[in-house]
Amino acid sequence: MAEFLLGAAGFVLLMVALGLLRILRGPGDADRMMAAQLLGTGGIAMLLLVGAATGVGSTVDVALTLALLAAFASVAFFKSATGAPADDAADRG
């Protein structure tokens, strides 16, 4: 069972690595941020799989931290990309 879970973790890692090609190709900053978002989601799945395969329980905490950091990274990207505090009012109408 451990071998299967490690193999699945390796597959997810490969998918994340392929997704990072989007950072090279762009074209926009939003596309690059999406690849970072994929790194967050895939990293969580990979950490959970490795944790279950090796029996190291603390990887779950690392995955939880990664989930938080990926969300904060994207919010920081939005604030810097739009150059203004996140304000809905300017976007409507």
Binding site: F4, L5, A8, M15, M34, T41, L48, G57, V60, L68
Partner: protein, 96 residues
Amino acid sequence: MSLLDLFTVIAVCAGAFFFLAGTVGLLRFPDALTRLHALTKADNLGLGLVVLGLLPHADSVLGGLKLVAIWLLALLASGAVSQLIARAARRTDPRR
């Protein structure tokens, strides 16, 4: 191989397939909003299936709940963040 192991194999394989779909969508789709659509849906479904597959291996009920909580946090964060990324993509490219 017990029935629970079989369940784990099926669910984790399905999750890995959705990660494959998300990556292919991110690389192949033509513009930012369609790529965002592929990424935010497929990957979070893949993560959910992986978590579902790992639930039988959780040490305790609390450990299983923690796994589900991580998935829910990822869902919430992804839902909010995809709105922000779409808004940023639209602002930087006024044609949309």
